[in-house]
Amino acid sequence: MGERAAEGLVTGFVMTEKLAFTLNVNGRDFPVRVEPRRTLADTIREECKLTGTHLGCEHGVCGACTIIIDGEAVRSCLMFAVQAAGKRIRTVEGLANGNELHPLQRAFIAHHGLQCGFCTPGFLMLAVNTLEQQPDIGDEELLDVLASNLCRCTGYGNIVKAVKAARDEMRAGK
């Protein structure tokens, strides 16, 4: 959709030729054809139809669109889709193993770490990546990491409790 429209653009200040490439999201290949200017977040949501990645500000502050690319938590609103071609992308839809929730998803439910749930996918992906990279992360450092995303409902206390509980559970399970 929008292909005809986009190809017809003659304004000169946007690149309108569509590029074809493949995004690998949660282990699955998605062949896409989008303009170079299309953000990764929009492409994951609209082309791959994975709408769990949310857009809260589109300028890289709120972190609702946080996903994991090749072991790094990134803001998908600040990347173009084409930049992620050939990389391993993980979104919130890939966290659970079938019906079995990830320990962090369980912890968010158990500790009432979400209310409206809009920021939740971003917090989950940020925290999952952190706990995978630094399973022994301390409380203070964890706060620094979590301070990179915004939540407007919970006041954060229960998010912190949930992440600490998941950290302790994941560490004990090792």
Binding site: G2, Q115, T120, D144, L146, Y156
Partner: protein, 760 residues
Amino acid sequence: MNETRAVKWIGQSVERLEDPPLVTGRGRFAGDINFPNQLHMRIVRSNHAHGRILSIDTDAARKLPGVVAVWTSADIPEVPPIDFREGPIEKLAPYRQPVLATGMVRYVGDPVAAVFAEDAYVAEDAADLVTMEIQELPPLLSAKDAPAEFSPGRHTEADILRQGYGDIDAAFQKAHTIVELQLSVGRHSGVPLETRGAIGRYDAARDMLQLHGAAKVPHRNQELIARMLKRKLTSVNVFESHVGGGFGIRGELYPEDILVCVAAMRLGRPVKWIEDRREHLIAANHSRNQHHKVRAAVAADGEILAIDDLIFHDQGAYVRTHATRVAMMTCGVLPGPYRVPLAYRAVCHFRLTNKTPAATYRAPGRFETSFVRERLVDAIAHKLKLDPIEVRKRNAVTVAEMPFKRPLEALGEEIHFDSGDYHKLLDRMLKEVEWEKLNADLARRRANGEMVGVGFAMFVEKAGLGPKDGVNILVDSTGAIEVVTGGASLGQGFETVMAQVAAEMLGVDYQRVSVIHGQTDRISHGIGAHASRATVMTASATRVAALNLREKALAAAAELLQAPVSALDIVNGEVVRTDRAGGPSISLGQVAAAHGKLEAEGWHHAEHQVYPYGNHLAVVKVDPGTGGVTVERYVIAYDIGRAINPTLVKGQIAGGCAQGLGGALLEEFTYNDNGDPLSVTFADYLLPTVREVPDIEIILTEDAPSPLNPLGIKGAGESGINGVGAAIASAIDNAIGIPGAVTQLPVTPQRLKAIIDAKR
């Protein structure tokens, strides 16, 4: 094998029914809703704060491939301005916002044109190509400035609101002392993490107009849209999906909602609009922004005899759906928990400015007045050299005086405090925080050169606005329960709470209950979720409906089991005999299947709102070098009457508190002298992060269940934010050792540093 006792669900902190889709990325927020063949709308907004529209050129935009239409107000002459929710108000009608600016632009962000295109990116490209010629006029940017012309013969002071009682002049003549303050609350707002969104869809075959992405007050918006577009109520339906936070601002009817509806009908295709964050910060309702000149007549012992408040309320560019509600509420609730026996007068100048229009934000009128009232009490205590806690105790309404009536109004009702023991809660809090020791510790730290202090605020909330709400409950043949409400969910846990109440009354597992809300095609009435009324009103109606259903189910089962109703109970979805163990039983699903239909309705009527109450306490540390404030500790004591789900109540309180800290310390919509908004990104409008919010300590009590509903429920939604501005201001005064230093919120580092430096 049958369990013999029904499970108690009310009062249990069970896990939320809402969570599984939300933690797995399967939520459906407005941005996730798509319909085949949809168009995307982009709004072209004014870049001028105030001016006359000389021309708008849409030619280049129209020519862009992929663009289907570009509208200005000339294209929709039949669409009236956005109406007031409570019906026409003649005096205020000229100040309503047109759906697209007509003749004038009145704030930066005012919608001037709408672009409809095949693709959201193309719609944005096209919007950039729309140009306009504006004859600039001087902007009016403060409600304290003299009113100016709004339109010929009409000025920007749209109304003057008044509430009061007693003889003010006589009371002030009797005063031992008069304390006078000038206080300001900054412009800030709810700023939910999800921006607004609206998707209009028209089914010509059935002549049915649908608005998706609705929130807060679905049935009222259905009514408003029908009224504005001259359609039958039954040919408009609005649908709420997942909602990414509301806080008062989302779910009001805005120009964009009307535009997607009109466009869906006229262009014959679904039309989707998703707001971007810059738009949100300049287009969605702002709030607060008041200036108070307040004085109190005080007796020698600190008793407040009378209060006289002159208020300037900055409404922004238009009067939106709430009309003067926030200003009127401000006038009515200022005295809070204090008696103020002789006289009270509030006069509020409700003035338009060339800024984003304003309306409600969580605890509207209460965040502001708690700040004003508690500043006043601190000032009284300082002037009379009394203990501020003692002054509060002296003035607070006592339990013996309950119910307490006050000849002032809130939301059109006379204020009747239904129940409460303010002194008991205050003592409980002081004991839990070890008040004496806390103060001694802080004094010691201050003596060691630290700028640390404690602040305190008392408040009364209001909740559960009536007059009535009704709920339908049905059981299907599988035994699943559906509770159909006209309520709304903004993320607060509405479904879980309703399910808990229904489950306990009915005798089923709460996880067997699904709760419908925000779907106007499922129920013909509903109050939505605002004014902390959902749990009080809708849960009370759910209780009645569930009890009615229980009665029907037992009667039907009695026939099937050949047993008297008195010998039956419902336990975990099974109708069982209580008079003999191991007797025959039948599931609710089987009863429903045998009966054909198992369904009941229930209503709750409320004559008056309920008045929960609480205290806030903050401990802060100030960095004298930067003026930065660290909140070391925050404690909230709150009497909820009865908590259906204590964990969810505490979640509401903690979340509200974090927002309050934002409004007290960080968040402010600022403008330059031209009326250009300066807070248009999250880098300028600062929301608190986890680093700015301590773990909120909550003392939740149930000392004063409301006598006005059978479950004793009061509301929870707004208690966490109510007293934050007040407590933080008081704590900062204490920390820097300058009583009364804080007169303006938010206390930004720049402002606080200026206060500290001025003293040096």
